[in-house]
């Protein structure tokens, strides 16, 4: 019914609020246009929260399933982007929790190491030599991977998604004051590490 390629393309111009309204009415093409528009940020966020691109895709898929079911409850269609990202946050945390449940503690330790390795590949062979060549962004990735998990989550939700303390608090199920504290600690550690790169 809304299948022609030109109509499809036209949806790319339509603002979020309109697409969200249509999607809530059951328009799959409008929903897919929203998914394509915000997919990259959802994927990038989930990747930093979960630590891998494969997990990120699972999270994006779960997020879209939940969003499709709950779109009717979205009060302000213009706020659909932030709403999708908050679902990404919750689903990412659930994803890690579920996996943790299936893994033993030993596996978990290994995973944590792999996790760090994935983010610090360029330094893995000869730190002193590569350290010079590694871009500051790569260094930030490595430093981020070394942060305690809760701090990293707060940092990603703030810097990638611009969520408020209250929104982050809801996602992580902690108090806004804890968010403020963890975010500060994350920044202090990261800033210190990055100052060494200047």
């Amino acid at each position: 019914m809304t299948g022609s390629p030109s109509a499809q393309h036209q949806l790319d111009l339509v603002p979020d609020a309109l697409l969200a309204g249509r999607a809530a009415d059951g328009d799959t093409a409008a929903f897919e246009a929203l998914a394509r528009r915000h997919g990259p940020l959802m994927r990038a966020t989930a990747r930093r929260l979960t630590g891998s691109l494969a997990d990120a895709d699972d999270v994006v898929q779960e997020t879209l399933v939940q969003a499709w079911k709950q779109l009717e409850n979205l009060r302000d269609p213009a706020a659909v982007k932030g709403w999708l990202l908050r679902i990404v946050g919750s689903r990412s945390i659930d994803h890690l929790r579920k996996r943790r449940h299936h893994l033993g503690l030993d596996d978990l330790e290994n995973r944590a190491e792999n996790h760090v390795e994935e983010h610090s590949k360029p330094q893995s062979t000869d730190p002193e030599h590569n350290a010079v060549n590694t871009s500051r962004v790569e260094a930030l990735k490595a430093a981020l991977a070394l942060l305690p998990e809760e701090q990293r989550r707060c940092w990603v939700l703030k810097e990638f998604n611009d969520q408020s303390y209250e929104e982050i608090a809801l996602t992580l199920n902690i108090s806004p004051a804890s968010v403020r504290g963890r975010l500060a600690r994350a920044r202090i550690t990261l800033a210190r590490t990055m100052e060494e790169w200047r």
Binding site: M1, Q10, A17, D25, A44, R48, R180, G181
Partner: protein, 228 residues
Amino acid sequence: MNTPGDALECGHSLAELSTYLDTGEIADPAHLRSCPECQAGLASLRRLSELGSELLSSDLADAGSGHDDWMQSILDNLRLELRPGRNIPLRTENPHDTLWETEGAITALIRSVADALPGTAAGKCRLHGDLAGGESNTADENSTSGAGIIVDVEIAVVYGHPMEERAAELRRELAKTLAFQTELTIEAINITVTDVLELPATPTPTTPTAAATLPPPEPIPSEREDLP
């Protein structure tokens, strides 16, 4: 909340500066302005924040476009189904038959009409009223006694198209299509223009005179019962 090593010699802390970055609130703004230590700490946090934006850009580039295969395969997995909405009974030749169409099919029809007109795209679409058209629709051939349906459609109009004309044209088209393709008794079609779409860098821009004669964006008021 103090963090080991976050205290500055002036007595303030990096944690306070971190909060200030997000909220713009700090206990002693005058001190902040004049204290070199606080300024240095703030500069360091701002550099980190800029680097964070660079990381985000880099991660977004890694993530690829929403039109790439990864998103297509996710969407293929979803198998979204059109939400059917309420059932709308249809007249039948045989009183023992029960036929109906769904509300979702009607709103999809309405959207396709709006999308097909040049310069308009449909948004939210709602049918208000008793879709069952009375108690015993299937038995009663003259079921037009049912109360009329009010159709609320939100549309976006592409910049340069006269809104009132587009709305009037859409109303005519919808009335025609709904009369032809459904059995609904339409009492009113309310069209609200909620957005103006700007086409990206059109090679043939509308002439200034055409733009100047655009009627004011006056949404046609519609009585809205926002159903949950």
